[in-house]
């Protein structure tokens, strides 16, 4: 199966490329990048072709593409790839505006191509185990979730609003939001958010606290802050404390690591030995194309999570609870 990568602006492209190369049925046939230097470097690294003209790339017999451009460019790249009838795995967030996400979904439906959104946390074995435990009723009825998706401040285009669409709220609400929707089979009723820029001298928000009510009455909070210090032993975290009537589950998705006290670099580092979730995501995308089944993570999943992000921004602006209109 011939697969290409559209842009290496998002560093996850490196990981996706690695797992494409490892897949017995996949072939990385080309890379397009608006930045010639980066694109050429990556093409060389992964021993594939570089294209500077996206149309030229999409006119080839490449069957599917992984879009890892800057958030605001997802729309253009996904719609274009759909017009060329390529299946698409799009990095999260699906888009920076709700209308854009809708247009992307529509374009993919019209062209009858798969649109999958990259929410790899669903492939973490601990997360899948938690979902099973909840579905089997082990903690009774779920009533509340206290969740975090912390990170270090990523810098680069992530803090340029014209390219990212927003800061930590854009970057880090969606992963948890996707897990909540997927695990609880529920939608968000309303959102309240306090967002701010308190850690860095940047033009986007770097921290906040988001409170949610789901349609079922479950309450949840998401901390999407880039609050991990530079000395933190890893990039960040995904944690959830899930409270049920008969028990509580606390899950720390990236807990499978050994700690390295590293005198050479003067720091303490988490060295993970867990299964890589990106491998699960890439393999699933390929399987989805092969078997022509519905994607595991759909464009609508991307849209619903984006709606919550936009509601959080509006709530922070108005200092009021915002009800989600779907």
């Amino acid at each position: 199966m011939k697969i290409g990568i559209i842009s290496f602006a998002h560093m996850h492209a490196l990981s996706y490329a690695t797992y494409l190369l490892q897949h017995p049925e996949a072939e990385l046939v080309g890379i397009w990048d608006a930045e010639k230097k980066r694109g050429k470097e990556m093409a060389q690294k992964f021993d594939t072709n570089f294209y500077l003209d996206l149309d030229e790339f999409l006119q080839t017999d490449v069957e599917a593409v992984i879009v890892c451009s800057e958030n605001v460019n997802h729309k253009e790249h996904v719609i274009k790839a759909a017009r060329y009838r390529k299946h698409i795995l799009c990095e999260k967030p699906i888009a920076t505006e709700v209308e854009d996400a809708k247009a992307m979904i529509e374009a993919c439906e019209k062209s009858e191509v798969i649109l999958q959104v990259a929410y790899p946390v669903r492939f973490v074995p601990a997360i899948q185990q938690v979902k099973q435990m909840i579905e089997s009723g082990q903690i009774g009825e779920v009533v509340a979730v206290n969740a975090t998706n912390h990170g270090q401040m990523p810098g680069g285009w992530f803090v340029e609003k014209e390219l990212s669409g927003g800061g930590s709220a854009t970057d880090h609400i969606v992963h948890i939001m996707d897990l909540l929707r997927w695990i609880l089979k529920d939608e968000v009723k309303n959102v309240y958010a306090e967002l701010d820029t308190r850690f860095y001298d940047i033009d986007v928000e770097d921290c906040g606290s988001v409170l949610l009510e789901l349609e079922s009455g479950v309450i949840a909070s998401i901390d999407p802050s880039w609050s991990r210090p530079a000395t933190f032993p890893t990039w960040g975290d995904v944690t959830m404390k899930i409270v049920g009537t008969e028990g509580t589950i606390a899950v720390d998705a990236y807990k499978q690591y050994s700690l390295l006290y590293n005198d050479k670099d003067g720091r303490i580092q988490q060295k993970p030995w867990a299964d890589d979730m990106d491998e699960g995501l890439v393999n699933d995308f390929i399987d989805c194309i092969k078997t022509r089944r519905e994607p595991f993570i759909t464009g609508t999943d991307g849209l619903r999570t984006l709606e919550v992000v936009k509601a959080a921004y509006m709530s922070n602006e108005l200092k009021r609870t915002v009800t989600i209109e779907r």
């Binding site: 509340a144 009510e213 909070s221 409270v243 009537t245 008969e246």
Partner: protein, 302 residues
């Protein structure tokens, strides 16, 4: 010599009696079981220490204060801000001191965390995450007032006043008929730091954690993981008392009160402080009811 009578029943009274007996300059009077307020007031005492459920505190404080006795009582002292204010006023008119218990202000981890914030170790504070769970009292229970109280007070003590409170709460019956109650609270401080507080009634033990972040770093604490001793026996695990100190927080609190009574210092937690924490708890409850944030300006409900 300060003469103290301890009222109430159960493990709290026992714990207080034990701790008072270790402090010099204190004489415990009326040590018998089920000592009534009537009996205590007839004794020669300077101070009554009330280990009572929330709904009895107000009445006992008023009566003891009327007799000219100083009072020690766990916060909150009443079920509403209004009632608490009137009690504080009454004590002040009777010229009796009201000393309020507070689990964080005398806990070394929380005292240390405040110092770290004060001395700038974390720089400008960003997001402060706190979780707090204690066993549910047998009788009346108000999650925000009885669990959140200490956390709200600590936030104000460490960071200053609160600007805005938003809270969500769930209450649900468990299979065994007991009530599960859990709340998530977001506070915007006047200095613009954001605090997130998780409150719950636990079925067994006290659970306390904090994670304080600022521009220069992060300070974390987990009570459960701070115990220096873990014992595993073939016959089952042995629970070693948490918080092993030469002087535990209760002892520190009691010594501070005695010093204050002897005019040798002040207590770090006053009825005015207690009132602020109560107002935040009331704002949280109000937020739950209306589904919107509630503003607090200069400590008053808008």
């Amino acid at each position: 010599m300060v003469k103290i009578a301890v009222l109430g029943k159960g493990p709290a009274r026992k714990e207080h009696l034990k701790t008072w007996s270790a402090i010099s300059g204190v004489e415990v009077v009326g040590e018998k079981e089920n000592l009534s307020l009537q009996e205590a007031l007839s004794l020669d005492v300077d101070v009554v220490d009330l280990c009572l459920p929330l709904d009895q505190r107000a009445d006992y404080i008023r009566r003891a204060s009327k007799k000219g006795l100083h009072i020690i009582c766990e916060a909150p002292i009443a079920q509403s801000v209004e009632e608490a204010e009137s009690i504080v006023k009454a004590c002040s008119q009777n010229q009796t001191n009201l000393y309020l218990g507070n689990s964080h202000r005398f806990h070394p981890a929380y005292v240390n965390a405040r110092e770290q914030l004060e001395d700038g170790s974390l720089g400008n504070p960003g997001v402060l995450r706190i979780t707090h769970s204690i066993p549910r009292p047998e009788k009346e229970a108000d999650l925000f007032l009885q669990v959140g109280n200490a956390d709200f007070d600590w936030l104000v003590w460490a960071l200053g006043d609160v600007e805005r409170v938003t809270a969500k709460r769930v209450q649900k019956k468990r299979q065994d008929g007991s009530l599960l109650e859990f709340a998530l609270v977001t506070l915007r401080m006047e200095n613009q730091a954001i605090a997130h507080v998780e409150l719950s009634w636990s079925t067994e033990k006290v659970e306390q954690t904090f994670e304080l972040t600022g521009e220069y770093g992060m300070l974390t604490y987990n009570g459960k993981e701070s115990n220096p001793i873990q014992v595993e026996l073939t016959s089952g695990n042995l629970d070693v008392e948490e918080g092993l100190f030469v002087k535990n927080p209760l002892r520190r609190e009691m010594e501070a009160i005695i010093n204050s009574l002897n005019s040798e210092g002040s207590v770090p937690f006053t009825p005015v402080d207690a009132m602020k924490a109560m107002k935040i708890a009331e704002a949280a409850k109000h937020s739950v009811a209306i589904g919107e944030p509630v503003s607090l300006k200069r400590g008053a409900l808008l």
